[in-house]
C-alpha cells in the first residue's frame, strides 16, 4: 500500500491544490468575500502554497526513496509531472480577471 501511495500521492496533491485554488476563486467572487479584500493577492498566495506543497512532495519522493527501483523512477516522474502541472494549470491567477 505504501508503494501505491508513493506513486499516487504527489499527483493527487496537484488535483487537491488545483481544486482548492478554483474553489477559492469561486469564493472570491461570492457574497461571502470581504468587500475590502483583493482577490488576486490571495489567489497568488494560494498558487504559491500549492507550488511549495508540490515541491515538498517531489523532494519527499527523492529523499525517501522506494526500495523498489521501478516504483522510485515512476514516482519521481509523476511527482515532477505534478510540479509542472501545478505551475501550468494555475498560472491564470497571474493575469486573468477573477470574476468577469
Amino acid at each position: 500500500m505504501i508503494e501505491i501511495l508513493r506513486l499516487s500521492l504527489p499527483i493527487t496533491v496537484w488535483l487537491t491544490g488545483f481544486s482548492a485554488v478554483y474553489a477559492l476563486q469561486g469564493l472570491s467572487c461570492s457574497r461571502h468575500w470581504p468587500a475590502d479584500l483583493e482577490a488576486r493577492p490571495v489567489l497568488l498566495a494560494a498558487w504559491a502554497v500549492a507550488f511549495v506543497l508540490q515541491l515538498i512532495a517531489l523532494i519527499a519522493v527523492l529523499y525517501a526513496p522506494s526500495p523498489v527501483r521501478f516504483v522510485q523512477t515512476t514516482a519521481t516522474a509523476l511527482a515532477a509531472t505534478a510540479l509542472v502541472a501545478a505551475v501550468w494549470t494555475m498560472m491564470p491567477v497571474l493575469a486573468a480577471s477573477a470574476c468577469l
Binding site: 508503494e3 493527487t12 496537484w14 478554483y22 461571502h32 521501478f70 516522474a77 509531472t81 494549470t89
Partner: protein, 840 residues
C-alpha cells in the same frame, strides 16, 4: 519465494492429466442451465458480460442508424421530434453506460487472471453480482424505451429540462435509477479488479513485471471508484428532487442547475478517459507483439497513464465553458485541457517508437490499430481545438462536438477493442480464424467512419446544432448530411460483418495452437480455451515477458511445477503476493458456485426500479432483502478452525488469507470506502457550491446546534472508535467480545441520534436546498451508523459461532475500518450541518 524458476525435471504426462481433472472438478461450473445463474468463474462471467455488452452495442447502433436516417434529408418526417429526442438520448446512454464500460470490464474479467498468472479474480461472487445488476438495470432501460417511456433529455440530463416540470412521466426516472444501478455494477467490478491486480499475481510478478494492460486497468478501476460517486450523488439528488420535491436544482428554493453540471462532468470527463485508457492498454499489449518486439518506454507509459488519469479529473469545467464562468476559471480548465495532450503524446510516441524498433506484420488486429492511429490523433487534435475557449464558444452544442467525441470514442475505443477481439480470439475460443470477413469489414468501417464524421465536423462548423430533429433545405447542410448518413450505413454493415465474423469463427473455425502470435505474456501459457481453473499451477516469473524467458513455461505450469500445483485439498486455492515485489505471501480459498449473487442482484435491482412505479413498500422490502442476503453471503465465508500455514509448493508454507490480518476483504473494503468517501466529498462539494454561488441563499435561518446533540455526537464517536478496537484486542487475546461490541453499538446509536436531531430541527426538506442538504448529511450519518451496527452484531455472532480467533482476526479489522469511516465522515457531516449556524 524459495525457488526462482520451475523445475526443469520432466514429470509424467499422467500427473498433468490427473491435476487437470482434479482442478476441473473443483473449479468447474454446473453444466446444467442453472449453472448460468450460479457460476462465479471469470470465464463464464466475462463471456456473459461480453455477449450482453455486444447486444447493447447493436441496440445503440440501430438507434444511431435511426438518427442518421432522420438527418439524411432536410425537413424529414421520418421521426417526430419527441421520438427523435428519445432516440438520441438512448443512443448516448446505451453506448456510454451499457456498452463501453461493460465491454472493457468483460475483457478485463476474461483476460486479467491469465495475464497476471492467477486462477480467478479476487471476488468471484462480486463479479457475478455486478454482471446480474448490469443485466437487470440495462434491460430495464431498454424495456422502458420499447414501451415509449425512454428519457428524452439528452444523455447528460441537464436540469431544469430533466426536472419533473419539464420532463413529466418516468422517462427521466428510468435513466436516473437504471444508470445508477449500472454504476453500482461498475464499482463492484472495479473493486474486484483492483484487488486482483494488486494482490493476485504470479509468484515473482513485481509491479515492474506486470503486463501493461493490468496497469491500465488498475488505473481505470481506481478512476471508476473516484469518478462514479459524483454521478451517483447527482442522480440521487435529481431523483429525490423529482420524487419528493427536495429543491437541489430549483433556483427559487436555493438550488442551482449548475450543480448538476458540475456533478455530472466531475464524472463525465474522467469517463472519457475511463473508456480510452483500457483501449490504450489493449494497444500497448497488442502492438509490440505485432511488431515482434517489446514495448518501448514501459515505465514512461505507466507514468503517462497514471498522470493522464489524475489530470482528467481537473478538466470537468471545459464542458461548461458557455455557462458564464469567469475568465480565470475558463483559463484554469483550458490550461489543464491542453496539458493532457502531453501524457497522451507520451503513449502515442511510445507506440510509434515500438513500431520503429520492431518489424510490424499487418495482421488483422494490427490493421485496426492503424485505424486507431489515424482516427484518434485527429480526434485528439479536435479536442485541443475545443480546449481553446473562443473556439469552444463558437462550436458549442454543434455537430462539430458530436463528430469530435465520435472520433475519440469510436477511433480511440471501438477500433482497439475490435483489434483485441481478433487478437485474443484464439485464446478465448481455442480456434484460429478461418473466415476472412474481418478484412472486408475493416475496409468498410474505417473509410466510411471518416466520411461520416468528417462530414459531420463540417456540418458543425457550418453551424448545425446537435439535438435538433431536422433542418431546412436552404441552410447548406443537405449534402453533408446525406453523405454522412449513407457512409454511416456502410459503417453499420461493416460492424455487422465483424460480429458475424467473430461468431462464425468462434463456433466453427478449426482448432488452433497455443500462442499463435508468439506473445510473451502469461495468458498465452494457459491451455486454450482457458479452463475454469486457468492455470494448473501458479507460474513463477522472472521478467515482464515470461514466455520469452522460458518457452516451456506452459508445460511446467501444466505439470504442476509452479505454486499450488496440487488439487488434493479439494478447494479453490490461489496465491496472494506482496503488492510491490510479487513475493508469495498468502494462500486464498475462493468461494464456490452460488445462486446468492443472482438473488442479491435481483433484490438490489428491485430496490432501484420499484420506485419507478411508486412501489415504495416493495423497494423497502427489497432493501431488507439486500441486507439479509448480504449477511447470508458473508456468513458462508471463512472457517471455524485455525488451519495454520499450508504447503504452497516449492517448500513454501504460507498462511491462509482468512488467517491473515489483511485478507482480500480488507483490501476490498479500503477501496469501497474510497468510493464512499468520494461520494461523501461530492455531497460536501455540492453543499459548499450552493452556499457559495447559488441564488436565494442564505436560507431564512441556519440550524442552531443543540449542546446535548454535540456532546452526544462526540461521545458516540469516541465509543464507536473504541468499541471495534477493543473487540479486535479481545479476539486477539481471547477476552470477552460482547462488551466491546455493545460499546461500539451504543456509540453508533448516539451518533445516529445526534444526526436525527438535525432532521428534527429542520422538518421540511422541501422548503429550501439548505434543508434538503441537511437531511442528506444526516442521512449519510444514519446509514453508516446503521451499517456499522449491523457489522458489529455480525462480528459478535461470528465470534460466538467460532469464526473468529487470534489468527482469524481479519473480519474484525474490516469492521474497525468501517467504524472509523463512520466516525470520521459522521463528525465532518455534523460539523458541516452545525457550523454555519454557529458563525451566522
Amino acid at each position: 519465494m524459495t525457488d526462482a524458476r520451475p523445475s526443469s525435471v520432466s514429470q509424467p504426462r499422467g500427473k498433468a492429466l490427473r491435476l487437470h481433472r482434479g482442478l476441473a472438478r473443483i473449479w468447474g461450473s454446473d453444466q446444467r442451465f442453472r449453472g448460468w445463474l450460479t457460476t462465479s468463474n471469470n470465464n463464464d462471467i466475462g463471456t456473459l458480460f461480453l455477449i450482453v455488452a455486444t447486444s447493447f452495442f447493436v441496440i445503440g447502433g440501430i438507434l444511431a442508424m435511426l438518427i442518421r436516417t432522420q438527418l439524411a434529408t432536410p425537413d424529414s418526417a421520418f421521426m417526430a421530434p419527441q421520438v427523435y429526442s428519445q432516440i438520441f438520448t438512448m443512443h448516448g446512454t446505451v453506448m456510454m453506460f451499457l456498452f463501453a464500460i461493460p465491454f472493457f470490464e468483460a475483457m478485463s474479467m476474461l483476460l486479467l487472471p491469465g495475464m497476471l498468472g492467477t486462477r480467478d479474480l479476487a471476488f468471484p461472487r462480486l463479479g457475478a453480482y455486478g454482471l446480474w445488476v448490469y443485466i437487470f438495470g440495462g434491460s430495464a432501460v431498454i424495456i422502458a424505451m420499447l414501451m415509449g417511456l425512454a428519457p428524452d433529455g439528452g444523455w447528460f440530463m441537464y436540469p431544469p429540462l430533466s426536472s419533473a416540470a419539464f420532463s413529466p412521466g418516468i422517462g427521466a426516472d428510468v435513466w436516473l435509477l437504471g444508470i445508477t444501478s449500472i454504476e453500482v455494477s461498475a464499482i463492484a467490478t472495479a473493486i474486484e479488479v483492483i484487488v486482483t491486480v494488486l494482490r493476485y499475481r504470479a509468484a515473482g510478478m513485481s509491479l515492474s513485471r506486470m503486463p501493461i494492460f493490468a496497469w491500465y486497468i488498475l488505473v481505470v478501476s481506481v478512476m471508476i471508484l473516484t469518478a462514479f460517486p459524483p454521478m451517483i450523488l447527482g442522480s440521487l439528488l435529481l431523483e429525490v428532487e423529482r420524487a419528493l420535491n427536495w429543491p437541489f436544482f430549483k433556483v427559487e428554493n436555493g438550488g442551482d442547475p449548475l450543480l448538476w453540471q458540475h456533478l455530472f462532468w466531475l464524472f463525465g470527463h474522467p469517463e472519457v478517459y475511463i473508456i480510452f485508457l483500457p483501449a490504450a492498454g489493449v494497444i500497448a499489449t497488442i502492438l509490440p507483439v505485432m511488431a515482434r518486439t517489446n514495448l518501448l518506454g514501459y515505465g514512461w507509459v505507466v507514468a503517462a497513464a497514471v498522470s493522464l488519469a489524475v489530470l482528467s479529473f481537473g478538466l470537468w469545467v471545459h464542458h461548461m465553458f458557455t455557462t458564464g464562468i469567469p475568465h480565470i476559471g475558463l483559463a484554469f480548465f483550458s490550461a489543464a485541457s491542453t496539458l493532457v495532450a502531453v501524457p497522451t503524446s507520451v503513449m502515442i510516441f511510445s507506440w510509434i517508437g515500438t513500431l520503429w524498433k520492431g518489424r510490424a506484420r499487418m495482421e488483422l488486429p494490427m490493421l485496426w490499430i492503424m485505424g486507431f492511429f489515424a482516427t484518434f490523433v485527429i480526434g485528439g487534435l479536435t479536442g485541443v481545438m475545443l480546449a481553446v475557449v473562443p473556439f469552444n464558444w463558437q462550436v458549442h452544442d454543434t455537430h462539430f462536438v458530436v463528430a469530435h467525441l465520435h472520433y475519440v470514442l469510436i477511433g480511440g475505443y471501438v477500433f482497439p477493442m475490435v483489434a483485441a477481439i481478433y487478437y485474443f480470439m484464439p485464446l478465448l475460443t481455442g480456434r484460429t480464424r478461418f473466415f476472412k470477413l474481418g478484412e472486408v469489414a475493416f475496409w468498410l468501417v474505417v473509410p466510411s467512419f471518416h466520411i461520416t464524421f468528417l462530414s459531420i465536423h463540417m456540418a458543425g462548423l457550418l453551424g448545425q446544432r446537435r439535438r435538433t430533429w431536422t433542418y431546412d433545405a436552404d441552410q447548406g447542410w443537405t449534402a453533408l448530411n446525406l453523405v454522412a448518413s449513407v457512409a454511416s450505413f456502410v459503417m453499420a454493415i461493416g460492424f455487422a460483418l465483424i460480429i458475424l465474423d467473430v461468431a462464425v469463427n468462434a463456433f466453427v473455425a478449426v482448432r488452433g495452437r497455443r500462442n499463435p502470435w508468439g506473445a510473451g505474456t502469461l495468458e498465452w501459457a494457459a491451455a486454450i480455451p482457458s479452463p475454469a481453473y486457468g492455470f494448473a499451477s501458479i507460474p513463477i516469473v522472472q521478467g515482464r515477458y515470461p514466455l520469452h524467458d522460458d518457452p516451456d513455461l506452459a508445460l511446467h505450469i501444466a505439470r504442476g511445477e509452479g505454486y499450488l500445483g496440487d488439487a488434493s485439498r479439494n478447494r479453490r486455492e490461489t496465491l496472494i503476493v506482496s503488492t510491490a515485489r510479487g513475493e508469495p505471501s498468502q494462500v486464498v480459498v475462493l468461494p464456490g458456485n452460488s445462486v446468492l449473487p443472482f438473488l442479491l442482484a435481483l433484490v438490489t435491482s428491485t430496490s432501484f426500479l420499484a420506485p419507478l412505479f411508486d412501489a415504495y413498500i416493495v423497494a423497502g422490502l427489497a432493501l431488507v432483502g439486500v441486507v439479509a442476503l448480504a449477511l447470508v453471503w458473508a456468513w458462508g465465508l471463512g472457517a471455524r478452525a485455525d488451519e495454520g500455514h499450508v504447503d504452497a509448493g516449492h517448500g513454501a508454507k504460507l498462511p491462509l488469507a482468512s488467517e491473515s490480518p489483511d485478507p482480500p476483504g480488507w483490501w476490498g473494503s479500503v477501496f469501497l470506502l474510497l468510493a464512499d468517501g468520494v461520494h461523501f466529498g461530492s455531497l460536501l462539494f455540492g453543499y459548499a457550491f450552493l452556499w457559495t454561488v447559488a441564488p436565494n441563499w442564505p436560507p431564512h435561518s441556519y440550524l442552531q446546534a443543540q449542546l446535548w446533540a454535540v456532546i452526544l455526537a462526540l461521545t458516540g464517536a469516541l465509543a464507536l472508535t473504541a468499541g471495534p478496537r477493543l473487540a479486535v484486542r479481545a479476539i486477539a487475546t481471547g477476552g470477552a467480545v460482547w462488551p466491546t461490541i455493545a460499546l461500539g453499538i451504543v456509540g453508533a446509536l448516539a451518533l445516529a441520534i445526534a444526526a436525527a436531531s438535525v432532521i428534527l430541527d429542520r422538518p421540511d426538506p422541501a422548503s429550501h436546498a439548505y434543508d434538503a442538504t441537511l437531511w442528506l448529511l444526516a442521512g449519510h450519518v444514519g446509514l453508516h451508523t446503521f451499517l456499522s451496527s449491523i457489522m458489529l452484531f455480525y462480528l459478535a455472532a461470528r465470534g460466538a459461532a467460532g469464526y473468529a480467533s487470534p489468527a482469524r482476526i481479519g473480519e474484525a479489522g474490516i469492521v474497525r475500518l468501517w467504524a472509523d469511516f463512520t466516525v470520521a465522515t459522521g463528525l465532518v457531516a455534523l460539523a458541516a450541518a452545525w457550523l454555519p449556524g454557529a458563525f451566522a
